[in-house]
Symmetry: C2
Subunit: 184 residues, 2 copies
DNA sequence: TCAGAAACGTCAACATGGCTGACATAAATT
DNA sequence: AATTTATGTCAGCCATGTTGACGTTTCTGA
């Protein structure tokens, strides 16, 4: 307890900037509020799943793989690498576990027999649905605060935050659907 | 190239769920769209900073510490631990580097001499401002898509996504300020 | 006043999940 | 037949999280 010396900058530790650091040219106000809100919102958002994943002995890496394989059945290994932006070796590690434990199955490509198409098993789908349920509860609560029109604004904002140059297949699919689901 | 066997579930790999998995009781629609938008938006959002940090030999952990120390001068070590939700040992590692390289300075607490209050140096503030500038550019672009009213909806949404039980000091400060900055 | 608690630092060891480089195999392509 | 592509895998490194233990300084309460 005692004192809350918080944000009460004491007798300046003398090594701090006396002047605004040369370039006063780029005087755009910084979006401190949104930056911090994104940090905390995302932290708690993924925290929902993290907690549950421990019970399965999985981590975030497993969740990401399971999520996209479940949502986009038939995803190739190469597709997954693009979406997750990790290396083959990193993916291999978690993918192997998910295959071994029966959360995902592979199927040789029909047209190109080199490909391994990935599919979630019932067990895998159940896990993803459970985790998505937790996150949905949080999202629903938050969307209630802004109403149906606000929800579309949120979707528009999030879409605009994403890089559009050279999108992977999953992103293409996401941007193909219109933003207004508008049936709330 | 060749075929895009994407999302065209082939002759079902037979281990997939035939039925919707018992409990049809919790039939809330899942927010797949928001879940995925958050994933991609946050990935690209932090990606802005990640790239720049490499040039300094720092990682995300350093960025997080620098950010909160800069934004909330005089933060105690214990405060930082609460905000970042990491252990003393993890924090110690990156904090030591930032102190050694002159991005942060410590000052013994006035009231309680056990405390080490943290302050960013000019060098540290410059780094944080540079990174925030990159992220601000992305945020500005995205907020333009939704207008001033939409921006407030976005802020409301993000705030509502954050856990409010037992908030740390930084969160208290954030939630103390009203949502409507409304001067865009 | 003095015992205990609090704030902080640190050592050692370990886990997860990124990374690079190298190499192998099967299948497609040219 | 030679090459390229899609995938898998081995070995090792790095960043950043973890637990457990222990030491010092300083504050606090009986």
């Amino acid at each position: 307890m005692a004192d809350i010396n918080f944000s009460t900058r004491p007798d300046s530790p003398d090594s701090r900037a006396p002047e605004p650091q040369a370039a006063a040219a780029d005087e755009r106000p910084l979006r401190w509020d949104i930056i911090e809100l994104l940090f905390f919102a995302y932290r708690d958002f993924v925290g929902d799943a993290d907690h549950e994943l421990e019970a399965f002995g999985f981590g975030r890496a497993h969740h990401r793989v399971m999520h996209f394989v479940t949502r986009y059945p038939g995803l190739k290994v190469a597709d997954l690498l693009e979406v997750l932006r990790i290396t083959k070796q990193s993916l291999g590690r978690v993918l192997k576990q998910l295959l071994d434990e029966g959360y995902i199955v592979q199927k040789t490509g029909n047209n190109d027999r080199r490909q391994r198409l990935l599919f979630a098993t019932a067990k895998g789908e159940a896990l993803v649905a459970k985790l998505a349920g937790l996150q949905t509860r949080r999202i629903d609560r938050a969307l209630e605060q802004v109403g149906p029109a606000g929800a579309d604004k949120v979707r528009q904002f999030l879409r605009a935050m994403i890089d559009r140059d050279d999108p992977d297949k999953v992103l293409e699919a996401i941007f193909k659907t219109p933003v207004t689901t508008a049936k709330e």
